[in-house]
Each structure stands twice: as C-alpha cells, then as structure tokens.
C-alpha cells in the first residue's frame, strides 16, 4: 500500500526569494500508525516481536524534517517508541511468569489499525465500483436560448463608430428614477404568521397564505417568513424536493 516512500512531496520556498529550506510532508501516510505499519512491512519483521530499537531509529529518520504541525502526532509516537525501547533494556525480574511485554499495547493498537486498513480496502473497492456507475442526474429542464447565432461577429468601422456614438449619447442622459413606495406589508405578515404559530407548533405554506392572495401579499408573507427564520423565531424545512414547506415554531434543535 505504502511501500514507496521515495517520492515525498517537497515544497520549496522559492517564491520567497531566499533559501528557507524545504517543507516536507508525508502525504502518503495517514498517521503515525500507518507509517509504523509500513516500516514493519518493509523490514519484514514479526509484528509480535518488533525490534524496537531498529524500528524507532527508522521511524525518527522518516519523520525528520516534517512540517511541525503534522509532526506532533508522529513525535508523540516517536517518544512512545523510545520509551518502549528503554523499558526493553531494563533487566527482567528473574523467574517472574507475568512479565508484561512493554510492546503489548503498541501491538494491540497496530493490529486494530491494521483491521481498519483492511476495511478501507473493502470500502475503496466498493466505492470504485459505485463510482463507475452513473445514476440518472436530475436536471431541471430549461428553455434553450432561442437566438443561438454562432457566426463570428462582423462589423465595419462605421458600424463601430455608430455604436460608440449611441452608447455615449445614452450615457450622458441624466438618469431619473421613479421611486415608488413598496407596496408590501412585511410587518403585518410577520404579525399574522406569529399569530398562526402561536396557535399551533407546525404549519404549512397553505395555512398562512390564502388561496386568493394577491402577489403583494404572497411576497410579503415570503419576506416575513425569511425574516422570522433569520431571527430564529421559526424553522422552515422542506422534507424532500418539491414537497410543501413545513414551518415549525420549535427552533430548539
């Protein structure tokens, strides 16, 4: 899986203009246990009898020069390995049956992690299989633009001047806005929604807009709903596409 460590990703800091060394990442390992397993596999050592001194040394060599924020977890593992190495050097009590191998906990974790890697292989296979099948993708049908003239644009110099002239004449004309008061009653709509929600904890769109509502009323209710949802007074949910919207006063979750 991760047998090849040679192509480490190295990012140089050439952009900075001066030599600040290399930042080395170990992207092919998903963590210290992954690196450790790969070492054990590369060195073909028995996981139940790990030569701790050798593996610890190699582990340190591999993480040498790693980016510091990634390195923390690897350094913790390195420290653990060195502690186990030290414990292995202690003389074993004579004749004691229940000598606990200081490596036992590490072996347990490695085996557990190895199982996870095996599940990952299964998931990877399943996901690749699924990725190779397409479901029908839902695309809302939209009218194609009618005017699809792909011919290259052609114009004479005179056309261009005329066009520029038209644009300039338009631009100098003073802009006059007609400001019309907004014929919406958002506050009123908010009041009536609050009144409905006070009576019942759940409501549907149809409960707060009457069938013969005029466009300005519908718009007012819509804006009022968004306003209330924004302030957290109610929750708007649509259980599935095209379903009617459900409003609930319960905003606890």
């Amino acid at each position: 899986m991760h047998n090849d460590v040679a192509p480490m990703h190295a990012r140089s800091a050439e952009d900075a203009g001066e030599h600040v060394g290399f930042i080395v990442e170990l992207p092919e390992f998903s963590g210290p246990l992954d690196l450790l397993l790969s070492l054990i596999r590369d060195e073909q050592v028995d996981i139940y009898d790990i030569p701790i001194a050798r593996i610890a040394e190699q582990f340190l060599a591999r993480i040498h020069g790693m980016r510091i924020d990634d390195a923390a977890e690897y350094l913790e593992m390195a420290a653990r390995l060195l502690r186990i190495k030290a414990q292995m050097l202690l003389p074993r009590p004579e004749g004691m049956e229940a000598w606990e191998d200081p490596r036992a906990e590490l072996v347990r974790r490695l085996l557990e992690y190895q199982q996870v890697r095996e599940v990952v292989d299964v998931l990877e296979r399943l996901s690749d299989d699924r990725r190779n099948r397409f479901a029908r993708s839902y695309v809302q049908v939209q009218a194609e633009p009618v005017d699809r003239d792909d011919r290259p644009f052609a114009a004479t110099l005179a056309d261009l001047f005329a066009a520029v002239d038209r644009v300039l004449r338009q631009a100098t004309r003073p802009l006059v806005h007609d400001v019309i008061p907004r014929a919406l009653d958002v506050d009123g709509a908010m009041r009536s929604i609050r009144a409905v929600m006070a009576l019942r904890s759940r409501a549907k769109w149809g409960d707060i807009v009457s069938r013969d509502a005029e466009p300005w009323q519908i718009l007012s209710v819509l804006l009022a709903l968004l306003e209330l949802a924004k302030s957290g007074e109610l929750r708007i949910a649509q259980p599935k596409p095209f379903a009617s919207m459900e409003l609930s006063g319960d905003t606890a979750s």
Binding site: Y48, Q115, Y138
Partner: protein, 181 residues
C-alpha cells in the same frame, strides 16, 4: 412487462436518487409488497437478459437504475457525467471506524487512528456520510457519530451487514497472537 413493472420503471427513471421500497409500494395503492417485489424482479431480469445499458440495483433501503460500468469511460469522455472524487485515505479510515463502531465519539476514533479526527469528521458530516446520532455518557457528554443512508448509497450497500464481519477480517501481518503475557 406488467403494468406495475412499467409504472415502477417510469418512477425509477424519473428519480435521481434510490427510491425506498415503501415509496415504490405507494405508487399504486392497489399493489402488494409481493407484487412490487415481483415487478422489480421483472425489470431487473429484463435489463439483464435483454442486454440493456443500465441495471436495476438495490441500494440502501431502495432501488435505483444505474448505468453499467463498461460505459463509464465513454460517458465521462463525452463529459455527460463525471465520476465523483475519491475519498482520501484518512476519510476512508474514519468512515471505516465509524461504520464498525458506531455510535462512536471523536476521541475513540482518534485513539484508533493515532491522529486528530475533528476536521475529517466535519467534512464527512458536511458530505452527509456521517451524522451525530447521540451523546455519550461521561465528561462533556461527547457527540457520537454514526453512518447515514447516504453512506450506504455511496458504497452501493443495502445495509451495514454487507460489510465483512469484524471477525472475518484477516489480520494479515502474522498468524495469531501467541497466548503470552
């Protein structure tokens, strides 16, 4: 094809997501679960035996029409559809742990993987593959995570039981643990 099989085929064609079995049953109020199952069998056999480019696949608790893998490359080359991105190794590890040990908290995941899992859990949650399913006992009542129906869909599984059982996984490095210590 029977009228019910035709109706189900039309519904399956119109839906971009797997249709749950009970929704399929509701399409025709007079249909029985056994009738729906027979109609689904009919569609599937027809697709398989007549050499269709699509097949009927059981996913999560429902059914879905999917294209056959041999046409993936041509479809992708013509840019009609694109395969989704692969999940990273770290994401798959996290999913594997959640799938087998759910409900499980972030600390336990980190303990097994030996690295932080917060960011990955968040992105898996955003993708809808895992979700918070409860809170654990103990300090801070930690959030517990579990897999979602979309997880099953992503791996085209009908249920979690289709994954290999934990005791079936070979620990491939060396034969069984010596009964020491």
């Amino acid at each position: 094809m029977t009228p019910l099989a035709r109706l189900l085929e039309a519904a399956l064609f119109a839906s971009a997501r797997p249709i749950p079995s009970d929704t399929l049953s509701q399409l025709d109020p007079e249909s029985t679960p056994a009738g729906v199952a027979a109609a689904l069998d009919e569609i599937r056999e027809r697709y398989d035996n007549e050499g269709h480019g699509v097949e009927l696949v059981a996913v999560s608790d429902g059914w879905q029409i999917l294209t056959r893998p041999e046409y993936t490359e041509a479809i992708e080359r013509a840019q009609l559809a694109a395969r989704p991105q692969r999940l990273s190794g770290a994401a798959l590890e996290t999913l594997a742990i959640v799938a087998y040990r759910q409900p499980i908290g972030r600390l336990e995941i980190e303990d097994i993987r030996g690295v932080g899992a917060g960011a990955i859990l968040k992105s898996l949650q955003e993708r809808g593959l895992v979700d918070v399913t409860g809170r654990g006992e103990g300090m801070g009542r930690p959030l517990l995570y579990g897999t979602t129906p979309l997880f099953l869909e992503h791996f085209a599984l009908r249920h979690l039981g289709e994954l290999p059982r934990a005791d079936e996984l070979t620990v491939a490095l060396r034969p069984a643990l010596p009964q020491a210590s």
